[in-house]
Amino acid sequence: MALSHDWRRVRAIAWKDLTTERRSKAGFNGVVALGVTILLLFGFAMGPDTQAIRDAAAGALWLAALFSAVLAFNRSYQVELEGGALDALLLYPGARWTIFAGKLLANLAFVGLMLVIVVLVGIVLFQVTVPPSWPLLVGVLALGATGICTLGTFYASMASRSRAREVLLPLLLFPMLVPALLASMQATKALLGGDLMHEADAWIKLLGAYDIIFLVATHLAFEHVIEA
C-alpha cells in the first residue's frame, strides 16, 4: 500500500516535470542545440583527419552529453524555485526519496532523448560505422546516462538553495562523474572499434557498479539535502 502510494508520487512528479518541459519547449531545444553545437566544435577542432575524428568520437559524444545535461539538471529545479513551488512540494507528507526518484525519471527521459539526437548527429558528423554489437552500445549509453542523471539530479537539488547554483552544480558534479565518464567513454570507444581486445566488458561492469552505488547513496542522502 505504502509502496504503491510512493510509486504514484514518483509518477506524478515525473509527469509534472515532463509536461512543464514539453510545454515550455525552450529547455529541450536549448539542451539539444548545445549538444549538437559542442559536437560540431569538436569536429572543427579535430580538422580533416578522418581517423582522428573517429578516435575522438566517443569522448566528444559523452562530453557533449554531459555539458548539455547540466542545463537540464539546473532547469529541473528552476521550475520548483519559480513561485515557491519547492516549499509546496516539501509540504506534501510522504517519503522524500519519491521526489528525487520522480525528478530522476524525468531527467533520464529528457537526457535520454537528447542523447539519441546527439548520437545520431555524431554518427553522421564523425562518419562512425555502427558496430554489430550496437545493442551493447545502447546499454552503455543507458548506463552512462543513468550515472550522469543520478548525480546530476542529486547535486542540482543541493545547488538549488544556493544563489550561485549555475556555477556550483558543475563544480560539484564534474569531479564526481570522472569514473562514470571515463568508463562510458572507454566502453563506447572499445565497442565502436569492434572490441578486439575485449575491454568493453570491464568498463561496463565498472559503470554498472558506479550506477548501483550512487543510485542507493543518493536516494538515502536526498532527504538530508533537500530539508532546510
Partner: protein
C-alpha cells in the same frame, strides 16, 4: 466564533532561529488551542513568516521545540504535514500546467486515491475557479493564483491552517471566501494562525492576536 478546547493545536516553547549570525527569533513561546484562530502581527522582519515556516516543518528551529497536535515538528514532521494547510506568500504553482492539472498533481502527491478529478473539481468550485479550470496558470491574475493555492490547500482537509497574509491580492468576494474557510476549519475543531499586516479583513474571525517584535512576543 468556535469555542477553543483544552487540546493544543500548537505548543511552541523557546523557539529560536538564526540565519548566519542574525537571530530572527529569540525564544518564542506560544500556544494555540484547537478551535482557536490567532492573528500573528508584527513589523517587517519581526520573524512572523519564519515562525510560520517552523510551525509548518519548512524550517527547523535553531533552539526550542514545537508540537502540532502533540507531534514534534522536528522528529515527526511527516505526521505533522498530514494535518497542515499552509499558504505562503508565493503561490507555489506550476505556470505551464492548468489549474486542474495543478490540483490533480497535488491530489496525487497527497495520496487521494482514484478521486483526483472529483477532488480537484470540488476544490475549484469552492474557490470560484471552475470557469478557468482548464486554463494554464501562466495567464492567471495574482488573485486567481491565490484562489488556486487555497484550493490546493483545501485538498488536504487540514486541521491546522498556517496562512501568510492570506488576504493579499483577493477581491471582496475572495476575502469573504477566505474568512469563511478559516472559520470553517476552526469550527470543525481545527485551528488557524494567520500572519497579517492589517488586522481589518480578519478582525471578525480571530479569537486573539499575538505581536512579534524583533523575534520576541
Amino acid at each position: 466564533m468556535a469555542q477553543p478546547t483544552s487540546e493544543l493545536a500548537i505548543d511552541a516553547t523557546g523557539v529560536a532561529r538564526r540565519f548566519g549570525t542574525r537571530w530572527v527569533l529569540r525564544g518564542v513561546s506560544m500556544q494555540v488551542r484547537a478551535g482557536e484562530a490567532v492573528g500573528l502581527l508584527g513589523a517587517n522582519g519581526s520573524g512572523k513568516s519564519t515562525l510560520l515556516r517552523i510551525f509548518g516543518t519548512l524550517l527547523r528551529p535553531s533552539a526550542g521545540a514545537v508540537q502540532v497536535f502533540g507531534h514534534d515538528v522536528a522528529t515527526a514532521a511527516d505526521r505533522v504535514r498530514t494535518m497542515l494547510g499552509f499558504l505562503a506568500h508565493t503561490p507555489g504553482l506550476y505556470d505551464d500546467l492548468t489549474a486542474r492539472e495543478n490540483l490533480r498533481f497535488a491530489a496525487a502527491m497527497l495520496g487521494l486515491e482514484g478521486a483526483h478529478d472529483a477532488a480537484a473539481n470540488a476544490a475549484l468550485d469552492r474557490v470560484g475557479l471552475s470557469h478557468a479550470s482548464d486554463e494554464r496558470v501562466r495567464g492567471f491574475s495574482a488573485g486567481m493564483e491565490r484562489r488556486l493555492a487555497v484550493a490546493r490547500m483545501l485538498l488536504a482537509r487540514p486541521r491546522l491552517l498556517l496562512l501568510d497574509e492570506p488576504y493579499s491580492n483577493l477581491d471582496a468576494d475572495g476575502i469573504a471566501m477566505m474568512s469563511e474557510i478559516i472559520s470553517g476549519v476552526v469550527r470543525g475543531g481545527g485551528a488557524a494562525v494567520v500572519v497579517l499586516h492589517e488586522l481589518a479583513p480578519a478582525a471578525g474571525i480571530l479569537d486573539r492576536t499575538v505581536t512579534l517584535r524583533e523575534g520576541r512576543i
